[in-house]
Amino acid sequence: MQHRFLGTTGLNISVLGFGASSLGGVFHDVRLDACIETVHAALDGGINFIDVSPAYGGTLAELNLGRALQGISRDRYYLATKIGSYSEARQDFDYSRAATERSIEHSLRRLGVDYVDLIQCHDIEFADHEQIVCETLPALQRLRQEGLVRHIGITGLPLKVFPSILDRVEPGLVETILSFCHYELNDASLGDLIPYLKERGVGIINASPTGMGLLTPRGAPDWHPASAAIRSGCGRAVEFCAKNGIDIVRLAIQFACANEAISTTLVSTTSPARIRDNIASASLPLDQDELQTVLNVLKPIRNHNFTRGLPQHRDPILC
């Protein structure tokens, strides 16, 4: 398993990371034994970076992850969780100091650890960035002083939320960003932001190389925010790959992991077989010709996006 440094945090993380959202039943119902087996298979396969949030499954993902990590030596993995977004369905966002401190205390308890390596402001397109800069981040700094969290990051869907915060804080305060659905076969627009992030020494975490299911034979779940055009465009690529004997999930992972500026790409599953497959995919060299044929099929919808959040944080739509 290849490793890369996460910005200037000093953390040397596996290029494939484990996203624990599946453990909360976000994509489909889960069983605890499958969760445990999958997390163990991930760690045994060389993954050393695990990302989760209290929002996934209404704390269920953290609870299941905590059970899976029982008995595992703390130095075998770097653990990241989040604060601020508790339920998008209920519009339950709270980036206040009190909610942040409470959430971290509860997350540590659910996860069964004394500290997390990375704490992230979750989906900040739903936040008032004045509050993030003046209240949330200082609260996280204090928790870092106390040793409950080691590093601080931000996450979000629209790409503009990252400069919105990074331009307003002192260098080194926000050490990582987590972006999703913007570095995959159909949408690699995160690439435009990479020079800006590298300039600031900010580590880059990319999530969901399959676009939360868009680039899988199973397709995206019902709640997926992508337009019908994006769904069908990706569906055409899935069909093309099936017809031509190309494993589209393997290709999606290879594509995401190939960019050396991205420290890790997160995949999420509750199937031990699938995580082993994904790990194997990450170590296979990328065939540029194969990649080009699939990118051609996706060309009509390339970088077409979807967005969300408060009006001032939404990206312009390309469609």
């Binding site: 890369r4 200037t8 945090t9 130095d75």
Partner: protein
């Protein structure tokens, strides 16, 4: 666990340690594991990373033997001829022993362009396959070239020795501070807080002269990429083990417990894969 990330051990001979000149006459003697163990026990340090002094394979073998017989020697940074055509079999045989954690050569004072030579870079590129770090021993005027080197190997762990040896006795922070900050922006570079008294005037230095240099290093690298090192016995030319440790402890006292723990052991344990 408190870890000293940088020290040496030797059986002194004038022929092998010609670099120890008259001004350092006090260290022209044997410094063996038993001597070091006494120092660290008194200082409350639990273990260490033993670093090459002589530039021979024989030195590397001897250091590995010492580490194998003394559990407090947690890891070895040995000498290897990185630009040699035989470097691959050399690394293969040394890496098998388990105690070799990193490689170092004496890069300080090498002619301009040395760090960018193809053979040297080919050797650096091999280190990762053996899970080996590379300790960078340079003078401050070599930082820019070092930046080019580390950028060529973004997945290789580099550890900067002695904060790149700024000329503390001249009491000038620039251009060292700007160069160091630029180097520190590379996430694959870590830094040892070591060897600072040696760069000051060993006979007349003060903590106040040294502290501004520490402040730059702390701000540039952050606690999670810093590690305390004694550079014993070389440090004895101007200080002693307890005094140097106490000084770094006083500089880091304002930091949080977790940050101090990082500087005094956790960073070293993680970077050098100790225990």
């Amino acid at each position: 666990m408190v870890i000293d990330s940088h020290h040496h051990l030797w059986s002194y001979s004038a022929s092998e340690y010609g670099w120890i000149d008259d001004s350092m006459a006090g260290i022209r003697r044997d410094f063996l594991p038993v001597h070091f163990e006494r120092e660290i026990r008194m200082a409350g340090v639990d273990g260490s990373v033993l670093v090459q002094a002589r530039t021979t394979i024989e030195e590397t073998h001897r250091l590995l033997e010492m580490a194998a017989s003394h559990p407090f020697l947690l890891g070895v940074v040995g000498w290897v001829p990185l630009d040699s055509p035989d470097i691959l079999p050399c690394l293969s045989s040394l890496a098998g022993t388990g105690n070799l954690k990193g490689a170092r050569e004496v890069l300080q004072g090498r002619p301009e362009g040395s760090l960018l030579k193809p053979a040297f870079n080919a050797g650096i590129a091999l280190l990762k396959t053996f899970d080996l770090t590379y300790d960078i021993l340079i003078y401050q005027n070599q930082i820019q070239e070092t930046i080019e080197l580390v950028d060529r190997h973004p997945e290789q762990t580099f550890v900067l020795d002695h904060i790149a040896k700024p000329r503390i006795r001249d009491q000038s922070l620039e251009p060292w501070a700007s160069d160091l900050r630029e180097l520190a922006r590379r996430g694959n570079v870590f830094c040892k807080v070591s060897g600072m008294v040696t760069e000051a005037d060993p006979t007349s230095w003060t903590p106040q002269q040294l502290q501004p240099y520490f402040d730059v290093v702390l701000e540039a690298f952050g606690p999670n990429r810093l590690m305390f090192g004694s550079d014993w016995p070389v440090c004895l030319v101007g200080t002693d083990y307890a005094q140097w440790l106490g000084m770094v402890q006083s500089w880091t006292a304002p930091l949080s417990g977790a940050e101090q723990a990082a500087i005094f052991g956790e960073t070293a344990a993680r970077v050098y894969r100790l225990g």
